[in-house]
């Protein structure tokens, strides 16, 4: 009985293996090889040296921190705003269809085009924001030339772009909640805030989790937005792990280390996911124990 089950799953497993496991294994092998412009692009075994280099690479850890900071900020903003937009679009408003379409536009825009647009908006001193501030006789804000501000600018641009995605997912979730649950809650005297907290959010949890997962995966791999908007600067303050790995592969032609970087960030992602799952379970148990 068991073996038949495995037999039936075999094609799917083979596909998964080919799509995920094979490249991972190749990268794992590559991370033990020096394959760079210095070796004439020929692989030469060097053992764990590149892993040691990764461990001692301050830039890797800085980029890890920056990627996490970017992801945490943009994903939480997107979840909050996405939820707000979804709740708004779920209301029986006039012209809701048009509103839904308009609110999706940022998502439909190619990231590169969007990033160029933001580069113009943030341009100092000729962008619209700078001109507005100049018109008010206020000093310009160095959005893209001040490390403390620029990472926030990237978060802002990313939030603008991907909030519609979150909103759409959550809107789909909201529409699965039967109206009579809200009516029952209204009869029980629930305020809008209580309804949101006690009814909507718990029932939306699966959708929130899916949106969170999708967005985290995308944000942790952020590349094109950063590449176009800031190029990783100023002072390296917006460089992401993906951008660093890209530089190593395409600019430095150091494929061995690029593979090590990719695996390193993958490992960090796995550890984070694992920690997240443990915390999630633990908090559920804690909540359960409380009641």
């Amino acid at each position: 009985m068991r073996w038949r089950l495995w037999l039936l799953m075999a094609p799917a497993l083979a596909l998964l293996l080919a799509i995920f496991a094979a490249p991972l294994l190749h990268y794992l092998w590559l991370s033990t090889q020096a394959q760079s412009v210095l070796t004439g692009l020929q692989p030469q075994p060097i053992g764990a040296q590149q892993w040691l280099r990764l461990w001692n690479d301050g830039r890797f850890w800085q980029d890890t921190w920056q990627t996490l900071r970017f992801s945490a900020a943009s994903v939480s903003l997107e979840m909050l705003l996405g939820l707000a937009v979804a709740l708004l679009l779920n209301q029986p408003l006039r012209g809701r269809g048009v509103l839904r379409t308009i609110s999706l536009l940022p998502w439909a825009l190619p990231t590169t085009v969007m990033a160029l647009g933001w580069r113009w908006i943030f341009n100092d001193p000729y962008g619209p924001i700078s001109r507005l501030l100049a018109g008010l006789e206020l000093p310009a804000i160095p959005f893209l030339s001040n490390p403390a501000l620029t990472w926030m600018a990237t978060v802002g641009a990313d939030t603008w772009k991907t909030t519609p995605f979150v909103a759409l997912l959550l809107l789909a979730g909201l529409q699965t909640i039967p109206a009579d649950l809200y009516e029952a809650a209204a009869l029980e005297g629930a305020t809008p805030w209580q309804t949101l907290r006690r009814i909507t959010l718990p029932l939306l949890t699966p959708y929130l989790l899916i949106a969170l997962l999708f967005r985290l995966a995308q944000a942790l791999g952020v590349f094109d937005l950063i590449q176009v908007l800031t190029g990783g600067g100023p002072a390296g303050s917006t460089e992401s792990l993906a951008l660093y790995a890209y530089l190593n592969a395409m600019r430095f032609l150091d494929f061995g280390y690029s593979a090590t970087l990719l695996l390193g960030s993958f490992a960090i992602l796995l550890i984070l996911c694992g920690a997240g799952a443990v915390i999630w379970r633990w908090s559920l148990r804690w909540q359960g124990g409380l009641r």
Partner: protein, 350 residues
């Protein structure tokens, strides 16, 4: 826990006065007036789309009234939000919160109102015991049977100790046998609350078996209000006559008049039998019979008058039959308007 009573006209039950709800050009509830006394169960009966659920939602405050007034316990609640009306409602779907246990489904409202933990626990134990739900405390709604869910929904309404009980087809999701068993039980339970109860159903048996009085609605308008017996014996119009009674009342044409003949008031004899004084008769052929166990429905094909349904204890022996009835038993309706014409069987008593 009955609500604060303000000086009204002294009537402590539910009172609807010219209540209407219009959406666009549709009138869902049309100038409805009625009263329900404390401890009384009133059934809103009618086919789907007749406005019975709309009326219930107006009373609960889930939809705003276009005009008219709702009074409860002597105060005008027409403009109050649902939570302030002290109304409990059992939804057709039960509307149990799927993410909460039975216990938490019941206690949510009390938590929201900020009741103390001990108080909540006390009420909870009481109602769970009353509804025999103690063993299911920790279950989620998805882990309950249909009957159990209904009990939880009722329990959630009871635990509020409302000033008014609203039920929207609470039996429609249960199988027929369970429904029959529950009817008496539910009636006792609702009665014991001592508050007015409005019960929406499209099932006449449920309405007749449960309610003290019944309102028949059609297209948002009140057709007749009265006891089950009164509605059955003395229907105000053809619609009410047809809606109550099973099998359905027979209708035969008499020029501009229609006669309504209840199947159980018809007698069957052999064709060609003499017709007694004060009786009327039609002759026809037996087309088929339905056995109900203790009784039988005979379908008799009577030339131009169509098929008559006759309910009797014994099955007819021959197939050529005479169907006859006491003239006084026939309900007379205006063929065009369907309104009841005077000169029918039962004298008006109300």
């Amino acid at each position: 826990m009955s609500g604060p009573m303000s000086a009204g006209d002294g009537f402590q039950g539910l009172k609807l006065r010219q209540l209407s709800r219009r959406v666009g050009s549709h009138t869902l509830v049309d100038q409805l007036s009625l009263t329900v006394a404390p401890g009384e169960i009133l059934a809103l009966l009618g086919p789907s789309g007749c406005g019975k659920s709309s009326t219930l939602r107006l009373i609960a405050g889930l939809d705003p009234a276009s005009s008219g007034e709702i009074q409860l316990g002597g105060r005008n609640i027409t403009a109050l939000p649902p939570a302030e009306r002290q109304v409990a409602m059992v939804f057709q779907s039960y509307a149990l919160f799927p993410h909460l246990s039975v216990e938490r489904n019941l206690s949510l409202g009390m938590e929201l109102r900020g009741m103390g933990r001990a108080e909540i626990q006390r009420d909870l134990d009481q109602v769970l015991a009353l509804m025999q739900l103690e063993g299911l405390r920790q279950r989620k709604p998805a882990e309950l049977s249909g009957g159990q869910r209904q009990r939880v929904a009722l329990a959630r309404a009871l635990i509020r100790r409302p000033a008014l009980f609203l039920l929207d087809e609470p039996m429609s999701n249960l199988d027929a046998q369970l429904r029959d068993n529950l009817r008496a039980e539910l009636r006792t339970l609702l009665r014991s609350t001592g508050v007015p109860v409005v019960y929406v159903t499209h099932d006449q048996h449920e309405a007749m078996g449960l309610a003290d009085r019944i309102v028949v609605l059609r297209e948002g308008r009140l057709q007749q209000l009265g006891t089950a017996e009164r509605l059955y014996r003395d229907p105000a119009n053809r619609f009410v006559a047809r809606f109550l009674g099973s099998p359905t009342v027979n209708l035969i044409e008499r020029g501009t008049t229609q006669l309504g003949l209840r199947p159980e008031l018809l007698e069957l004899t052999d064709a060609g039998s003499p017709v007694p004084q004060g009786w009327e008769a039609l002759e026809g052929q037996l087309s088929h019979r339905e056995w109900l166990g203790d009784r039988v429905i005979s379908h008799v094909q009577c030339a131009e008058q169509g098929t008559l349904r006759v309910l009797s204890r014994e099955a007819p022996i021959s197939s050529a039959l005479q169907v006859r009835w006491r003239q006084a038993d026939a309900l007379r309706f205006d063929a065009r308007s369907g309104e009841r014409l005077p000169g029918s069987n039962t004298p008006h008593t109300e």
